[in-house]
């Protein structure tokens, strides 16, 4: 696989940026990605959704007075808005000229998980998402502080129930176990005491707020330090710990490059991450430029997002509704704003099961057949109308018609497959035979069949 394509896929969602990486060089490409504009405006579909608890209460009362059933209507409507938010984010990912920021936002989204199902306020979910977008290349310590003190997170991890005398340890535990240090690097006492420090941190107007009556102002001991620590202090202490850089460094390596990152690399980049005081941008720069020089293709199983957007981009499909893609993602186990639990998507081999694999092939076949992805729940027993002529997608595939069967095979391979074997080559040459004329009418159909065969190779699942 061509190196620029490989890194376009890794740093984005398709091969769309390969040209830029090729012409700018990886370092300038990173610079441009780091300085890419952040749009923090509130999308239109959220206009009517309540922004705070007060507004929810008010809205409920107003609706109830009119018609008791309309409260249920409100819930239904917000669920729809949350679905629109998935589509909206997907569109941001697809449209970005330098998608690394969205890719990194998605990384943080899967690190600091807070799902709509639990948080139930679309504005808070958006705020959380925007916070991650804005801080995507910022400082990990700062971002951790901001997330812990966000409405989305205090509700998602039940800190709204964490009150003096009635301690709830959930946020305190995940702050250590999943967000920063990882198991084995803290004690149960740290969790208990951290929870005391977090007690009373509940929902607020602009982010989470401590409420005096629920605070626990006892002196606590946290990693050997004693004091009256609140959320920001706890995070400061955590980042003084020796283990602080490694969990996140391992996860970043996993997100971008290796399903199983070599532990020496985790140490190497992790130590550097501490040296630069947990600034994400220099870490990414070092990691990407150094890994770029190595031969690392094929070390990671594609997530569903990359899988489907790469196909869509290769086939130049512009008319496929984002909703069908977000439904596909959910079916594939990568529901945006909807991770199964606080650990997020584990990735790696967990992306694939036999069903998921078949479903990927099915999607590839459909798109190559100019057909849209299937819509809703195939389990509901509905039998599709059989002979309904399906609506066609416009598709197009790039290939150089001045070449011959071998150059076309090689070019496609370079874009699609991280590796190739003589057996694969023979297979491809039996699809595009030696007397294939790329200039002849209908030649694109044959190249499309070749493409379809390539994307159904197991090798296409890797990058």
């Amino acid at each position: 696989m061509d190196r620029a394509t490989l890194w376009s896929l890794r740093l984005g969602f398709s091969s769309k940026e390969a040209q830029k990486i090729q012409s700018m060089g990886i370092e300038s490409f990173l610079d441009a990605s780091f300085t890419s504009k952040v749009r923090l405006d509130v999308p239109n579909f959220l206009r009517e959704s309540p922004k705070s608890l007060g507004e929810v209460r008010e809205l409920r009362q107003r609706l109830k007075a009119k018609n008791p059933d309309s409260v249920r209507e409100l819930v239904r409507k917000e669920v729809q808005v949350s679905q629109q938010m998935k589509d909206w984010w997907l569109e941001q990912m697809m449209a970005a000229a330098f998608p690394l920021r969205e890719k990194m936002t998605c990384f943080w989204h899967n690190h600091f998980v807070a799902t709509y199902q639990k948080v139930k306020m679309n504005h808070w979910i958006l705020d959380h998402n925007q916070l991650l977008r804005e801080g995507a290349f910022g400082n990990f310590k700062t971002l951790t502080k901001q997330v812990v003190q966000s409405n989305a997170m205090v509700r998602y991890l039940d800190n709204v129930d964490n009150k003096k005398g009635k301690i709830n340890e959930n946020l305190s535990r995940e702050l250590l176990e999943l967000f920063t240090l990882g198991i084995g690097n803290y004690s149960e006492d740290d969790i208990k005491n951290g929870a005391k420090g977090l007690a009373g941190l509940g929902l607020g107007q602009d982010g989470a707020q401590y409420r005096k009556i629920f605070e626990d102002n006892d002196f606590i001991t946290y990693f050997g330090k004693t004091g009256r620590f609140k959320a920001a202090d706890l995070v400061d202490i955590i980042f003084e710990q020796k283990a602080a850089p490694y969990l996140i460094t391992r996860k970043i390596l996993k997100w971008f490059i290796y399903d199983v990152p070599p532990e020496d690399l985790v140490r190497y980049y992790g130590d550097y991450f501490r040296e630069v005081d947990f600034e994400i941008q220099p870490l990414l720069r070092k990691m990407v430029t150094e890994e770029f020089a190595k031969n690392t293709a094929g070390s990671k199983i594609k997530d569903p997002l990359l899988y489907i957007l790469q196909l869509k981009n290769e086939l130049h499909i512009t008319t496929l509704s984002p909703r069908l893609i977000t439904i596909f993602l959910r079916q594939q186990g990568m529901d945006l704003f909807g991770q199964p639990n606080v650990k997020g998507w584990n990735g790696g081999t967990e992306w694939l099961s036999s069903q998921i694999y078949l479903q990927r092939h099915n999607a590839a076949d459909l798109l190559c057949n100019r057909r849209a992805l299937p819509g809703n729940n195939p389990l509901n027993g509905e039998v599709m109308a059989v002979k309904n002529p399906p609506r066609r997608l416009e598709i197009a595939l790039d290939f150089d018609a001045t070449g011959n069967h071998k150059t076309i095979i090689a070019a496609l391979q370079n874009r699609l497959l991280y590796d190739t074997t003589p057996e694969m080559q023979a297979e491809f040459e039996s699809i595009l035979k030696y007397d294939f004329d790329p200039k002849s009418e209908g030649a694109e159909h044959a190249v499309l069949r070749l493409f379809n065969a390539m994307v159904k190779r197991p090798e296409f699942q890797l990058l």
Binding site: D259, V260, G298, S299, K300, I301, R330, Q331, Q332, G333, P340, G348, T349, L352, S353, S354, Q355, I356, Y357, L358, Q359, N362, D365, N369, R371, P374, N377, P378, L379, G381, V383, M384, V386, P390, D419, A426, E427, S430, I431, L432, K433, D435, F436, D437, S440, E441, G442, H445, A446, L448, R449, N452, A453, P458, E459, Q461, L462
Partner: protein, 389 residues
């Protein structure tokens, strides 16, 4: 069927409902099985352009010898002579099957404005379109689209390294099996994945290996029918043996497709062609005998064809790409006739035979007489032939 349904509902709930079964799997699970012992079609595509004139030989025609000084087969060597035509000596069992009345020859099959590119001509045969038209689905795929409610992954079986355009329809109603041995026994599957130094790749390969759709049905069919020792150990022999096992095991696929390579004999034709036809003859003979003794020959129609024939005049020790050539139909209650006149070696088109019977007329005949299907539904307007079945 119960077990299959059970399997599907189990995997459905196993995922807690969050991972959804692909629609086709669901549809398959709720579908009743096809009727036992339906008729089926088996295709052998001879890749490269088989030399029709040296396969079914006009041994009585002086021009045959005049135009092919280096590669003509002597009258004495030709076998199963009837009406001025006879088989290549390697096709001794074809001759026998013809004597038994179970083999028909359709002579001079081709299409107007013939294309001499392998690639394009195969496409034309597979899509059943005019040579000026470019189809994206295959004729058998379209037929299966009509035949299958929703989706039936084993309605067509393709034994080849790659998917076959002929079987491609709107719905995935066929599967391509690269290596029949992968179906031998479940427990061998893991071991038969070649391990690489990339554990992630090995993981995906194992999944890919285990999920061939329709694998359950194939397993069951294979379990019902034992392997026959009488098949030659060639590629084609193995493929036909495997097809016969699936037929005997009641898989009830409507179409089986396989191919044999090596017919592009520009050079050294006598040797190459003899070797290829021997492989073809021996594999077909075993298949014929197997099905006949199983009492299934009546249900199974074997069709042997190639994307084109070869130039009438030799180029020295070989032949270049040509046009019309004979097709062979074996079993399925064929009347054992020779349809169409003998090759016209006088009235050539730029040195090539002119076709007499359009291949789509043969397709229409097969669909009409064997599958009870009107080929007009899939856009084939040629009338079927009379007297084949």
């Amino acid at each position: 069927m119960m077990n299959r349904r059970h399997f599907l509902s189990l995997t459905g709930t196993f995922t807690g409902g969050s991972l959804l079964l692909p629609q086709f799997l669901h549809a398959f699970g709720s579908q009743s099985h096809l009727v036992t012992a339906d008729p089926c079609l088996v295709f052998i595509q001879l890749n490269g352009g088989n030399d029709g004139l040296n396969t079914y030989v006009p041994f009585d025609h002086p021009l045959y010898y005049a135009l092919r000084p280096k590669i003509a087969l002597s009258k004495d060597s030709v076998i199963g002579k009837t009406n001025g035509m006879g088989f290549h000596p390697a096709l001794k069992d074809f001759a026998t099957i013809q004597q038994n009345g179970d083999l028909s020859v359709v002579q001079n099959v081709g299409y107007p404005n013939p294309v001499r590119s392998h690639f394009r001509s195969q496409e034309i045969w597979q899509t059943a379109t005019d040579s000026s038209h470019y189809g994206t689905t295959g004729w058998l795929g379209q037929y299966l689209d009509f035949q299958c409610q929703d989706h039936e992954p084993t309605a067509g079986i393709n034994l080849d390294a790659v998917d076959n355009l002929a079987l491609k329809g709107e719905e995935p109603n066929f599967i391509t099996v690269r290596n029949p041995n992968q179906y031998k026994v479940r427990t061998e599957q893991e071991r038969s994945v070649t391990l690489t130094d990339n554990p992630q790749l090995d993981f995906v390969r194992k999944i890919a290996h285990s999920v061939t759709e329709g694998a359950e049905e194939i397993q069951k069919a294979l379990a019902k029918a034992a392997a026959e020792a009488s098949y030659p150990k060639t590629n084609l022999g193995k493929n036909l043996e495997w097809i016969a096992r699936l037929i005997k095991g009641n898989l009830n696929s409507k179409v089986y497709y396989t191919s044999q390579n090596g017919y592009d004999t520009h050079d050294n034709q006598l040797n190459l062609h003899h070797r290829n036809l021997t492989e073809l003859n021996d594999a077909v003979a075993a298949f014929y005998g197997d099905l006949k003794s199983a009492g299934l020959l009546q249900n199974v129609t074997l069709v042997v064809f190639s994307e084109f024939g070869r130039r009438v005049k030799d180029n020295g020790s070989g032949t270049d790409h040509g046009t019309a050539a004979p097709m062979f139909i074996i079993g399925g209650g064929t009347k054992g006739r020779v349809l169409g006149g003998n090759p016209n070696l006088v009235d050539l088109d730029n040195g090539d035979l002119q076709h007499e019977i359009d291949f789509r007329a043969v397709y229409a005949t097969l669909l009409r007489d064997k599958m009870g299907f009107d080929a007009k539904q899939i856009g084939i307007t040629h009338s079927g032939l009379r007297g084949l079945f």
